[in-house]
Every structure is written in structure tokens, then in C-alpha cells.
């Protein structure tokens, strides 16, 4: 099993890991990956990956607007919103 680059994982997952938590997470992840590593021993050559229990094509619908306008209702759920827009920290200097 390759070494875990925890900083890189935390960066990809956008989860801040404090130094005190990192050690515990690393140990847990190593245990979990040791468990799932048992998959490697199985010969799956020629097996089609199964991404879904339903071997059906996705249903299509008319290309028509079906959602009502709920902008105000949905924006009211945001931690910060103003003038019909979501507010986030400044991105462009």
C-alpha cells in the first residue's frame, strides 16, 4: 500500500486538518485502506465495472422548464446573500 499524502487529500477534499487531528486521521485511513486493499488480490480481468444496480438507460424528459422560480426561498437559506446573490469572500483583487 502506498504512503498516504494526507495534506494533499485534505486539500482536494477542502477539509482543514489540524496537526493534532492529522495523526489520528492518518492511523484511521491506514486501517481502512488496509481493509479495502484486499480487493487487489481478486482477478477481475474481463469484468465490466458495475456503476449502478439498474442496467437501464437514463430516462429522458422533454427539454422544458419545469422548476418554478424559487430564487427568494432558496437564497433565504444561504449564510449570506444580498440583492439576489450569494455572498462569498472577495475572489478577485
Amino acid at each position: 500500500m502506498p504512503a498516504i499524502d494526507l495534506d494533499r487529500l485534505a486539500e482536494l477534499a477542502r477539509i482543514e486538518l489540524t496537526a493534532e487531528h492529522a495523526a489520528a486521521f492518518r492511523a484511521d485511513l491506514e486501517r481502512v485502506l488496509a481493509l479495502v486493499d484486499r480487493l487487489q488480490a481478486v482477478d477481475t480481468s474481463g469484468v465490466e465495472p458495475m456503476s449502478h444496480p439498474l442496467d437501464l438507460p437514463q430516462r429522458l424528459r422533454e427539454d422544458a422548464v419545469t422548476e418554478p422560480d424559487q430564487r427568494d426561498v432558496l437564497l433565504a437559506l444561504a449564510p449570506a446573500a444580498e440583492n439576489g446573490l450569494y455572498l462569498v469572500p472577495k475572489v478577485i483583487e
Binding site: 502506498p2 498516504i4 494526507l6 494533499r8 487529500l9 485534505a10 482536494l12 477534499a13 477542502r14 477539509i15 482543514e16 486538518l17 489540524t18 486521521f25 484511521d28 485511513l29 486501517r31 481502512v32 485502506l33 488496509a34 481493509l35 479495502v36 486493499d37 484486499r38 480487493l39 487487489q40 481478486v42 477481475t44 469484468v47 465490466e48 465495472p49 458495475m50 456503476s51 449502478h52 444496480p53 439498474l54 437514463q58 430516462r59 424528459r61 424559487q70 426561498v73 432558496l74 437559506l77 444561504a78 449564510p79 449570506a80 450569494y86 462569498v88 469572500p89 472577495k90 475572489v91
Partner: protein, 492 residues
């Protein structure tokens, strides 16, 4: 019969009592709320109780009945796992991330049960984002087992199972991604069914692992599960995986049963009974259940699921991978928690997610991120999907020689709170018997079949071929006509 005693009876009996005017929806709602509140400190089965809404719904149910407009579920107290969105009622997923989230819409299941006149008392406890097998990973504290409050209720739908077992409601909703309906049902001594993937709409259920998630119900009998399942199944265009098929009247098939299961072939997967860690009392009770089925006319056949043990590693790659993708939406921008202090947008994401998610959720997101990341995708994620097909094919092969599979629901009875807290893998290994049905999309149920030496309930699991819910429910119903394990009540 006192109203409280009545609450410990079946949905069918409650519906009859309402129809005959022996009680009213309002009286039932009051008694159920009183019991829920009285047991809340000991069980922590609920995250949110909604007494005013319940009273209002009960009054409406009584009015509809007076107007002659009644459905079987009208006036029946129920509870929803706090993973189903409820319009105007906070829906937390047992997470700090959604602790204040009030959805602007109802989940399909919630909508259907409300239309049927069922009276929801509120939202039940669960493992955060349905990730767990104990209901210990909840931002609102663990749910406790009504049979022994020092023990886990099982998970993730622990609150729903505990509420049913404790005689608060006759039926509650749950979701099952790797056993989250069946395992807590087993731990709490009640009956729970996970339908086939696609039978019940996932619309409005907070997503964990979308190719595995399925809604189900927990009740005190297979008959009550049948009644509740009919009420929540059916096509919903808002879920792209919802099956376009007519609603089935499962309970009607049960009513036509003659108390026999002649000709039913029950397969016992030999690998399941060879699992290291299968508790001796659980094995004895499940084997005894198999003999009861045999006495009812079923024929026992030995079958093989050669890759049974590999279901755990396959699941613990696929589910975290899907979870890491599904939970990417919690960014502190559109809804949910936002960290109070941060330097820039990226820092806001990182701190929001670090503070908003609990430890187990973070573990699964990180595992999912790992197995999906460049260089490991083929070795883990793709390999797990190939295993998933082989496992599904094993089940299909087993069903060539039997009609249903019989197995334990979990290798042990309920463990003590905190007992497995140190090592996540110990908890994952508990899912050995339930995960296969999720990977293959099959229906499965758990019903009580005895008690261990400590007096804790044991669950027997039946797994069926795709869309064989009626067959599953019928078998369990005939079993329950012959036995009384499902009628035992916890010493609360």
C-alpha cells in the same frame, strides 16, 4: 385498552381502532407525543419533535374521517428519519453542517405519507449523513437501545428503530445504504425492509452514496411494513432512478396467505454461516428460524456466495467515493453551516467543512477522495466496481436454486456504547451480511427471531431477487403468525 398500550400494537390494529371509533387521531397523537417526550432523555430517539404540527395533522385526520374520507394510514402516528427533507421542519442529517437547515420542500416519501393522513411526530436520530452502524456518530448524541440503554440502537436509522421498539410509533421511515434499515431493526427487535433499488423515490433524501441509497420502513411486523411500503413506493419523475411500475398492494398478498410456505426454497449461504465473529447465540437463533421456516413448508437449500467477504472492501471503496462527491456541495455558500472566521474563499471552504462535519464523515470523505484520486482510481474505484458486478452475479447464481436467501442480519447483538469507537474498521466489519443487497440492488428485510443470553434481540434477514418484496414480506408474515418474537416489548 389504554391509548398508550394501544400505541404498542400494530398499525393494522391501530387503524381498526380508529375506524371503529375506539380512539381518535388526536388522542393517539397526544399519547405518542407524551411517550416520545417521556423517553427522550433515556433514548434520544428524536432530534426534533414537532408537537404542534402533529396535533394539527391529527385534527385534520379526525375531520377527514368524519367526512368519510379515510385511508388506512390516516391518523397513524409515524416518525421520519432526519435524512428526509421536511418542508418547514429542520432537517439535520444529524450533522452540525445542517443543524439549522429548514428545507423548502418535502421528500417524496414524506409527501406520500402526509397525503395518506399519517401524523408525523418529528425527526429521528441517525448517524451523521447516515454514515455508521451504531447511531453513535450523531451531532445530537447517540441514540440508545430500548432493550438496554447502555447499548447502541444500531445504525444508521437508530432513532426510527428505537422509536418503533419503544412503542412510540408503530412505523417509522429509514434509509438503507449498507444495512441502515435492517441492522438497527435487528438490534432493536423490530422488522425493517429495504426495497429494491429504484422502488422508492430518493427525491428529498439527503444523499450519501447514490447508487446504493434506498428508502425503507421499520415497523413491528412484516404486515405493517407491507402496508407502509405500499404507501411510499411508486414512480416519481423527480428521481431519475425511480422505476416506472405500478404500486403493488403487498398487504393484500399477505392477507391471502394460508399460513404455509410450501414449496418455498430458502437458500442458506454457507459463507455467511462460516464468518469469523458470528456470535454463537445469533447463529443458534437464525438456524432455529430456518427450522421454523422448514416446519412451515419451506425447503432449506445450501447455496454459495463465494465473494461474500469481499463485499465489505468493495462497499468501503464505492460508498466513500460517492459520498466524497455528494458531500462536495457543503461549501458554506448556498445553505448550511459557514465557519465564523476565515481569510479567503478557499479558507472558508476548508474551515466550514472541518467544523461542520464530524469525524466519521471526514474519514469517509478522505477515503473517497483517496480512491478517486489520480493514480489510485483504477486500483481501487474501478476494481471495486468490477467486484460489485461479480458479487451481484453471485447473488443471481444463488437465486437460480432458491427463492429467498436466509442469513443473520448482523454477526452480533447490540454492543455497548463506545465499545467500537476506537477503530472504524471494527464497525465496518459488522456490515458483512447487509452490504451485498445494496451492492446488487436487491430487496431485503430483517425480522426478530430470538434473544441472546443477555436478553438482546436477534435479527433474521431474508434477501430476495430484484422486485421480490411481496415474497419477502409474505415469508416473514407467515413466520410471524407462527412465532411471537416480534410481539415482545422492551422493559422500559
Amino acid at each position: 385498552m389504554s391509548t398508550e398500550r394501544l400505541l404498542a400494537s400494530s398499525l393494522r390494529e391501530l387503524a381498526t381502532a380508529l375506524a371503529e371509533g375506539r380512539t381518535r387521531a388526536e388522542a393517539l397523537a397526544e399519547a405518542a407525543l407524551e411517550r416520545a417526550q417521556a423517553l427522550q432523555e433515556r433514548l434520544n430517539a428524536f432530534i426534533t419533535l414537532t408537537p404542534e404540527r402533529a396535533r394539527e395533522a391529527a385534527r385534520a385526520a379526525d375531520e377527514h374521517r368524519r367526512a368519510g374520507n379515510i385511508s388506512l394510514l390516516s391518523g397513524i402516528p409515524i416518525a421520519h428519519k432526519d435524512l428526509f427533507c421536511t418542508k418547514g421542519v429542520r432537517t439535520t442529517a444529524a450533522s452540525r453542517m445542517l443543524a439549522e437547515f429548514v428545507p423548502p420542500y418535502d421528500a417524496f416519501v414524506v409527501e406520500r405519507l402526509a397525503q395518506a393522513g399519517a401524523v408525523s411526530l418529528g425527526k429521528t436520530n441517525l448517524d451523521e449523513f447516515a454514515m455508521g452502524s451504531a447511531n453513535e456518530h450523531s451531532h445530537f448524541g447517540p441514540c440508545r437501545n430500548p432493550w438496554d440503554t447502555d447499548r447502541i440502537a444500531g445504525g444508521s436509522s437508530g432513532g426510527s428503530a428505537a422509536a418503533v421498539a419503544a412503542g412510540i410509533v408503530p412505523v417509522a421511515t429509514g434509509t438503507d445504504t449498507g444495512g441502515s434499515v435492517r441492522q438497527p431493526a435487528a438490534m432493536c427487535g423490530v422488522t425493517g425492509i429495504k426495497p429494491s433499488y429504484g422502488r422508492v423515490s430518493r427525491y428529498g433524501i439527503i444523499a450519501y452514496a447514490s447508487s446504493l441509497d434506498q428508502a425503507g420502513v421499520i415497523a413491528r411486523s412484516a404486515e405493517d411494513c407491507a402496508l407502509a411500503l405500499t404507501a411510499i413506493e411508486g414512480f416519481d419523475p423527480r428521481d431519475s432512478t425511480s422505476l416506472e411500475r405500478p404500486v403493488e398492494d403487498h398487504a393484500a398478498a399477505l392477507a391471502a396467505a394460508d399460513g404455509r410456505l410450501d414449496g418455498l426454497r430458502l437458500g442458506l449461504p454457507r459463507e455467511f454461516f462460516a464468518v469469523e465473529g458470528l456470535d454463537a447465540d445469533v447463529r443458534r437463533a437464525v438456524e432455529e428460524a430456518a427450522r421454523t421456516y422448514e416446519a412451515l413448508g419451506a425447503r432449506l437449500v445450501e447455496v454459495s456466495l463465494p465473494r461474500a467477504e469481499l463485499a465489505i472492501p468493495a462497499y468501503y471503496v464505492i460508498a466513500p467515493a460517492e459520498a466524497s462527491s455528494n458531500l462536495a456541495r457543503y461549501d458554506g455558500v448556498r445553505y448550511g453551516y459557514r465557519a465564523p472566521a476565515y481569510t479567503d474563499l478557499d479558507d472558508m471552504y476548508r474551515k466550514t467543512r472541518a467544523q461542520g462535519f464530524g469525524e466519521e464523515v471526514k474519514r469517509r470523505i478522505l477515503v473517497g477522495t483517496y480512491v478517486l484520486s489520480h493514480g489510485y482510481y483504477d486500483a481501487y474505484y474501478l476494481q471495486a466496481q468490477k467486484l460489485r458486478r461479480l458479487i451481484a452475479e453471485d447473488y443471481a447464481r444463488a437465486f437460480a436454486s432458491c427463492d429467498l436467501l436466509l442469513a443473520p442480519t448482523a454477526p452480533t447483538t447490540a454492543w455497548r456504547l463506545g465499545e467500537k469507537g476506537q477503530d472504524p474498521v471494527q464497525e465496518y466489519l459488522q456490515d458483512i451480511y447487509t452490504i451485498g443487497a445494496n451492492l446488487a440492488g436487491l430487496p431485503a428485510l430483517s425480522h426478530p427471531c430470538g434473544f441472546d443470553a443477555a436478553g438482546l434481540p436477534i435479527g433474521c434477514q431474508l434477501i430476495g431477487p430484484y422486485l421480490a418484496e411481496t415474497r419477502l414480506l409474505l415469508a416473514a408474515h407467515v413466520f410471524q403468525q407462527k412465532t411471537d418474537w416480534h410481539r415482545r416489548l422492551p422493559p422500559l
